[in-house]
C-alpha cells in the first residue's frame, strides 16, 4: 500500500508523526520531489492568483505526486487544534480545494481534525486517515499512534537541542537520535520567525538559513523552542492563542523579543498570508516597544533572489555594527571607571 504525501504545508510540522504512524500500520509513504520553479508554476496555474504562495506550492506537489503515478493522496484538514483555536481557512479547506481544482482521477484521503467539535477528535482523525485504506481496527490504530508520537518526540528533542530541521527529520525517520549540531558560533544571533513550510522550503525561502550561516550569523527558529517557551512568548505580546499555527509566529517572536541573547529578528512571510498579516503587525509594534531590530520580508513566486540577499546583508551588517559599538562603549566605560577609581583612591 502506497500513499503520497505532498512535501508542503503541514508536512513540515507533522511528517515525523505520519511516518511513525503509517509505517507501523504497514503503509508506505511516498513524498513528492523538492519544490522547483516549474512545480510552483504548475500549481499556480490551477488556482486563482490571489491564493497565497504556500497553497500554490501545495497544489504543485499534489500534481507532482500524480505525475509520479501515485493515485492515493493524503491531504488532512486541520480545522482546530484546541477548543476555539482554529486554523487559517485555506488550511481548513485544503482537501476541498484540491478536490475541486485538480481534475484527475485519484483517491483523496481527507481526514478532519477538529478539537472544537466533540466528535472529531484525534483518534477520529487517525481513523479517517486509514479507513479508506481498509484499516479499521481501532486498537491497532491507537497502538500505531504511539509509534507516531515516538518518532515525533525524537524529532522535537533534536530540534530543540539545536539540530537543524532537515537533519533532525532525517534522523527521526531513520530511528536515530543524534545531537550533532552544525551551528557554529557566529558574530550575531538572529531569530528567524516564519512558518516551517516557508522557511524550510528552499525554493520559497531562497535558502535563507544557509545564507545567514554563510554571513557568520547564528539563526534560531521556533523549532528550537518548547511549547511552554512559546506560550510565554504569546503572553509577552499581550495576546491569546488564536490561530492553530500561532506558536510558530507570535509565540516564537514574543520569546525571542524578550531574549537578551538575540540581537535581532527577521520575519519571513508569504504574500497574501491572512493570519501572518495581523501577527506580523503585532510583532512589529511590540518590537518597537521592546526596542529590538526587526526586518520584515515578504516573498512570492516573483521575488528576486538578489534583492532578498541585499536586504539580509544590510540588516545583519547593521546588527554586527550595533553589537561592536556597544562592546566598544562598554570597554570605554570600563577604562573611564578605572581612571575614576584611581583618582578616588589617589594612586598616581
Amino acid at each position: 500500500m502506497k500513499i503520497g504525501i505532498p512535501r508542503a504545508l503541514n508536512y513540515y510540522n507533522y511528517y515525523p508523526f505520519w511516518h511513525g504512524f503509517f509505517s507501523e500500520l504497514g503503509v508506505e509513504l511516498v513524498l513528492s520531489d523538492r519544490t522547483t520553479k516549474s512545480l510552483v508554476s504548475s500549481g499556480s496555474a490551477l488556482v486563482v492568483s490571489e491564493t497565497c504562495l504556500p497553497v500554490k506550492v501545495y497544489v504543485g506537489h499534489v500534481l507532482n505526486l500524480l505525475d509520479k503515478g501515485i493515485d492515493v493522496i493524503y491531504s488532512p484538514s486541520i480545522q482546530s487544534i484546541a477548543p476555539k483555536v482554529y486554523n487559517c481557512s485555506k488550511l481548513r479547506g485544503l482537501p476541498d480545494l484540491i478536490r475541486n481544482v485538480v481534475n484527475k482521477n485519484f483517491l483523496l484521503i481527507e481526514p478532519t481534525l477538529d478539537k472544537s467539535e466533540s466528535n472529531q477528535g484525534f483518534y477520529q482523525y487517525l481513523y479517517e486517515s486509514v479507513a479508506p485504506l481498509g484499516i479499521t481496527n481501532k486498537k491497532l490504530i491507537k497502538q500505531a499512534s504511539k509509534a507516531g508520537w515516538e518518532c515525533m518526540n525524537n524529532f522535537s528533542v533534536m530540534t530543540r537541542a539545536g539540530v537543524d530541521v532537515p537533519t533532525a527529520m532525517r534522523n527521526a525517520i531513520n530511528g536515530n537520535i543524534s545531537f550533532d549540531s552544525s551551528q557554529k558560533e557566529g558574530m550575531a544571533k538572529v531569530a528567524v520567525i516564519s512558518h516551517g513550510y516557508n522557511l524550510f522550503d528552499d525554493q520559497v525561502s531562497m535558502k535563507m538559513l544557509k545564507k545567514l550561516n554563510q554571513l557568520d550569523i547564528e539563526a534560531y527558529t521556533s523549532y528550537n523552542l518548547t511549547v511552554e517557551q512559546m506560550d510565554q512568548g504569546i503572553k509577552n505580546l499581550d495576546t491569546l492563542l488564536y490561530w492553530a499555527n500561532e506558536h510558530e509566529m507570535t509565540g516564537a517572536a514574543g520569546y525571542y523579543l524578550k531574549d537578551d541573547n538575540i540581537d535581532g529578528l527577521i520575519t519571513l512571510t508569504a504574500f497574501g498570508c491572512g493570519p501572518d498579516s495581523l501577527m506580523i503587525e503585532r510583532i512589529t509594534r511590540y518590537a518597537k516597544r521592546f526596542n529590538k531590530p526587526l526586518l520584515n520580508l515578504t516573498t512570492d513566486e516573483h521575488t528576486g533572489e538578489a534583492g532578498f540577499v541585499t536586504r539580509i546583508e544590510a540588516f545583519t551588517d547593521m546588527l554586527i555594527r550595533k553589537k561592536r559599538t556597544s562592546i566598544v562603549n562598554s570597554l570605554k566605560k570600563q577604562v573611564v571607571n578605572k581612571e575614576e577609581e584611581k583618582k578616588l583612591v589617589g594612586v598616581e
Binding site: V48, K90, P95, D96, Y242, G274, P275, R282, R285
Partner: protein, 370 residues
C-alpha cells in the same frame, strides 16, 4: 460616555436606535469615505483585509468627533475578524488614543453577552429597556432587508434612472428618526409606499442576479461601489443572498427561538458536494448559494464579492469555477480593495450583464424552437 461603532452598510441605524433607547450618547462617525480609507490604510498592515482598514478609519474619525468608547464584535472561528479588536486596540494605543473598548464577545454567549455589554456601554441596567433596545435593533435590521427587496424590484424597472433611490433615501431618514416600534413600523410602511410610487415599466425585460460573498463588502455600499445600484441601473433585479437579518437569526438568536431552516443551513446543504467542511467566514454560503441558484434556476447569474486577501472567500473563489461548470450558471467574482477603480468595475458588470442577456435570449429561442 460617548459610544461609537464601525459602519457596515446601514447597520448604524439599528445600533444607534438601540443605544439611544437605552439613554446612551451615540457618535456616528461619518459614513465610509475616501478619508476614512486613507486614515485606516495608513495605520494598517498592508496585507490585511479591506474591512479592517475601514473599521480603523471609522474609529479614528469617531474619536476625532469626541467618542470615548468603541463597540466591537469578537467571534471565534470565523477568520481574521476574531482578531480585529485586539489588533485595533494595540494600534489605537500606539497612536496615542485613550479610549474604552466594549467587546461583544461571542466566545462567551449570545443574548446574555449582548445584555451585559449594552449595560456596560450605557449604564442602563433596567432589563426591560435593554430587551426593548435589542428588539428594536433586530426589528430595524429585518425592516431594512424587507425594504431592500422591494427597492431591488423597482430599481431594475424604473423609467427614470435614480428615481427609486431618491424615494428610498427619503424613507431612510424617517427610519433613522424613529425611536419606538410604532414609529419605526410607520416609517417602514411609508418607505415602501414611497418606493412603490416610482413610475416603472413592469413589462421590462430584466435579468436576475444573485449577490453573494463576504458579508461586509456585500452589505457596505462604499466598499462594493454600490453594486446593487449599478446593477439596477443596468436593468438587473438583484437578490442579495447575504442579509443581516439572516445573520441575526443564526448567530444571535438562541436556536430554540428559530423557526424553519435558516439561510445558512440551506446553503450548507447545497454546498456539500463541493465544500464538505466549514472553512470560516461566509465561504460555505457563497459556494452553497451559487450551487442553489444553478440547481433551482432562480437566477440568471451570480455576482460574488470578496475583499482582497480574504481567506475564506479565496477558498470559495477557487471552488466556484467547478460549481459554475457543474451547475451551468455564470459567476462573476469581483475582488475589492482600496485600489479599485470605478470605471473598470462598471465595465466588467456591463459585460457580465450583456452575457446574461444573450444567454437568456438564446435559451428562450431554444425553448421556442423545441
Amino acid at each position: 460616555m460617548k459610544i461609537a461603532f464601525p459602519h457596515m452598510g446601514r447597520l448604524y441605524i439599528a445600533l444607534s436606535a438601540a443605544i439611544r433607547i437605552l439613554g446612551g450618547e451615540v457618535v456616528v462617525p461619518p459614513y465610509n469615505n475616501k478619508r476614512t480609507l486613507e486614515l485606516g490604510s495608513l495605520n494598517s498592515p498592508e496585507a490585511v483585509c479591506f474591512p479592517y482598514k475601514l473599521i480603523l478609519g471609522n474609529y479614528m474619525e469617531a474619536i476625532e468627533n469626541g467618542a470615548d468608547a468603541l463597540l466591537m464584535i469578537d467571534s471565534p472561528g470565523i477568520c481574521r475578524l476574531g482578531q480585529y479588536s485586539s489588533s485595533l486596540r494595540t494600534t489605537l494605543s500606539d497612536l496615542g488614543y485613550d479610549v474604552k473598548f466594549i467587546n461583544f464577545d461571542l466566545y462567551k454567549g449570545k443574548l446574555k453577552e449582548l445584555y451585559v455589554k449594552f449595560k456596560e456601554a450605557t449604564g442602563n441596567a433596567n432589563p426591560i429597556t435593554l430587551i426593548k433596545a435589542i428588539n428594536m435593533a433586530i426589528l430595524i435590521i429585518n425592516m431594512l432587508d424587507d425594504i431592500d427587496k422591494v427597492l431591488s424590484y423597482y430599481r431594475a424597472r424604473e423609467l427614470n434612472p435614480g428615481d427609486t433611490d431618491k424615494r428610498y433615501y427619503r424613507g431612510l431618514r424617517e427610519i433613522e428618526a424613529a425611536l419606538s416600534y410604532k414609529k419605526a413600523l410607520k416609517a417602514k410602511k411609508n418607505t415602501i409606499e414611497y418606493i412603490k410610487s416610482t413610475p416603472i415599466d413592469p413589462e421590462k425585460d430584466i435579468v436576475t442576479v444573485d449577490l453573494v460573498g463576504e458579508v461586509y463588502v456585500v452589505l457596505d455600499q462604499f466598499s462594493n461601489l454600490d453594486v446593487e445600484k449599478e446593477l439596477g441601473r443596468l436593468g438587473v433585479h438583484v437578490n442579495r443572498q447575504i442579509n443581516l437579518s439572516d445573520w441575526v437569526k443564526s448567530s444571535i438568536m438562541p436556536s430554540a427561538l428559530r423557526f424553519g431552516e435558516t439561510h445558512e443551513e440551506k446553503a450548507r446543504k447545497s454546498a456539500k458536494s463541493f465544500l464538505k467542511r466549514d472553512v470560516g467566514g461566509d465561504a460555505i454560503e457563497s459556494v452553497g448559494d451559487v450551487a442553489l441558484a444553478g440547481k433551482e434556476h432562480s437566477a440568471d447569474g451570480v455576482v460574488h464579492l470578496l475583499p482582497f486577501t480574504c481567506m475564506p472567500e479565496i477558498v470559495a473563489q477557487n471552488i466556484l469555477p467547478n460549481v459554475r461548470s457543474e451547475e451551468d450558471i455564470p459567476v462573476l467574482s469581483l475582488v475589492l480593495d482600496e485600489h479599485m477603480g470605478k470605471a473598470g468595475y462598471i465595465t466588467r458588470l456591463e459585460a457580465f450583464v450583456d452575457l446574461l442577456r444573450r444567454r437568456k435570449r438564446k435559451s428562450a429561442l431554444a425553448a421556442v424552437a423545441s
